[in-house]
């Protein structure tokens, strides 16, 4: 059951925005103070992006804005006006999973899975920036995505394998 925390109790200002979310255009109004995480979860009803630390440390809420990773918990939704947002729901093409998703499943790159969508989106941003990262570069790029189950070796392995798979497909 999903709560609806968005009732604009005392909104002072709203913005008419147009955001492309996973390829589909969303048009409407958002309050100035609404963060992208709430916009995605409660307005667009995409709940794959997770709320966790709400302080830009854990990475669970990572999404891509114009290909760059950001903490959606602390990014105002109106700032994404005219931009393209990609969430975990936008990775697969229909029933066909993205190589990153396949590699995470194959390597068991998750235990509880709560951080996984953030891990995969951070990895996606990395591979967009650098299609052939080393283990060290993966470690640097993902040091802000915390996995309390400690799946880091499997996560890194999954990213290396997905990078190879992207290369094969090109």
């Amino acid at each position: 059951m999903m709560a609806e925390p968005l009732a604009p109790i005392a909104t002072l200002q709203s913005f008419a925005i147009e955001i492309t979310v996973n390829g589909a255009v969303w048009k409407g109004n958002v309050p100035a103070e609404e963060v992208l995480l709430d916009f995605l979860r409660y307005r667009v009803k995409l709940t794959g992006t997770k709320r966790s630390c709400e302080s830009e440390v854990c990475g669970a809420c990572t999404v891509l804005v114009d290909g760059k990773p950001i903490s959606s918990c602390s990014y105002l939704a109106f700032e994404a006006d005219g931009k393209s947002v990609m969430t975990i729901e936008g990775l697969a093409s229909g029933a066909e999973l993205d190589p990153l998703q396949e590699a995470f499943i194959r390597n068991m790159g998750a235990q509880c899975g709560f951080c996984t969508s953030g891990q995969i989106m951070a990895a996606k941003a990395l591979l967009l920036d650098n299609p052939a990262p080393t283990y060290e570069q993966i470690s640097e790029w993902l040091n802000g995505n915390i996995c309390r189950c400690g799946c880091y070796p499997a996560i890194a392995q999954s990213i290396l394998e997905a990078a190879a798979e992207y290369k094969n497909r090109r």
């Binding site: 925390p5 109790i9 005392a10 909104t11 002072l12 200002q13 913005f15 309050p31 100035a32 103070e33 963060v35 709430d38 709400e54 302080s55 830009e56 440390v57 990475g59 990572t62 760059k68 990773p69 950001i70 903490s71 602390s74 990014y75 105002l76 109106f78 700032e79 951070a122 941003a125 790029w141 040091n143 802000g144 995505n145």
Partner: protein
């Protein structure tokens, strides 16, 4: 959820300043938002108005006039980490910027915002003190330029006057032939403490040096007395001076216990990191 606010979008820096004057403490400057949104959420900052300066032209530019790099207030950390000009002219700053928090914070957060919050656990200030950076503060009445060391006045406080905002930072590269290093120890993606060291060596001895330490007390600081003490010393001698410098560090850095480390630990580690950074600077073959 954040408390409701309005966003104002001034067309230029004079308008932004006029809004600051008109609204006083009801308004705050909004650039990247990486720190501001957190502080609004935690109730540490109250603002009815965010003055969005991101679209003011010129503030997101990096420039080079042949002597000094100019960094606009809304240039992000990620850009400073990756920009070819910064990496070539200010490699120490690029290195410090690359260590800030995580890739998301670096993509969103700006240098201007970072300096204006003057959070004591921060990376760029320490590196910029080594470069003797200056900041340009703008108000509707004009501009003034002051040393960063005067701007960073205390814990979460700066020399900004009401109605003033930071426009840009001037950073001169280190002199030719100097080596440099930025080192830190960190927890929770923030530096417990950091040091920046630059030095010129002549026949194995320190000819000149600059030392800065951050996060130990309320603000990052240069250690001018220690800088003079190590002049003329070989590396071993300078390292001994650092090891014996804890009383001086304690006097000058105003160390505080905090969540990231005790005052005693930070003073101990400051001496250790100064030694390590000087060794590293001596090996960097004049690549400041």
């Amino acid at each position: 959820m954040l408390q409701p606010f309005r966003v104002l979008t001034p067309a230029n820096i004079e308008q932004a300043s006029a809004e600051l004057v008109r609204l006083g403490e009801r308004a705050t400057i909004y650039a990247g938002g990486a720190e501001l949104i957190l502080l609004l959420r935690y109730g540490m900052v109250h603002a009815e108005y965010l003055i969005n300066i991101k679209s003011i032209s010129g503030l997101s530019e990096i420039g080079w006039d042949g002597q000094t790099v100019q960094i606009g207030a809304t240039v992000t950390h990620r850009r400073l980490e990756t920009d070819p000009l910064i990496r070539e002219r200010l490699p120490l700053l690029a290195d410090a910027e690359s260590q800030i928090a995580n890739i998301r914070v670096r993509s969103q957060g700006t240098l201007g915002g970072n300096l204006c919050f003057n959070d004591p656990h921060s990376d760029p200030g320490t590196a910029l003190l080594l470069h003797e950076a200056e900041v340009v503060l703008a108000s509707k009445d004009g501009l003034r330029q002051i040393p960063l060391s005067d701007f960073l006045s205390g814990m979460y406080s700066t020399a900004l006057e009401p109605g003033e905002l930071l426009q840009k930072t001037f950073v001169a590269p280190l002199p030719v032939g100097w080596g440099a290093a930025y080192l830190r120890v960190h927890r929770y993606q923030r530096p417990t403490l950091n040091v920046a060291v630059a030095a010129k060596f002549q026949n194995g001895a320190v000819e000149d040096a600059r030392l800065a330490v951050g996060c130990v007390g309320p603000k990052p600081q240069r250690l001018s007395e220690l800088e003079s003490k190590i002049r003329g010393e070989k590396l071993d001698g300078a390292r001994r001076i650092f090891a014996d410098s804890k009383p001086y560090l304690k006097d000058s850095l105003e160390p505080v216990d905090d969540l990231l480390g005790s005052a005693e630990y930070k003073i101990y580690m400051a001496a250790v990191l100064l030694s390590r950074a000087l060794s590293q600077a001596s090996r960097s073959n004049g690549r400041g």
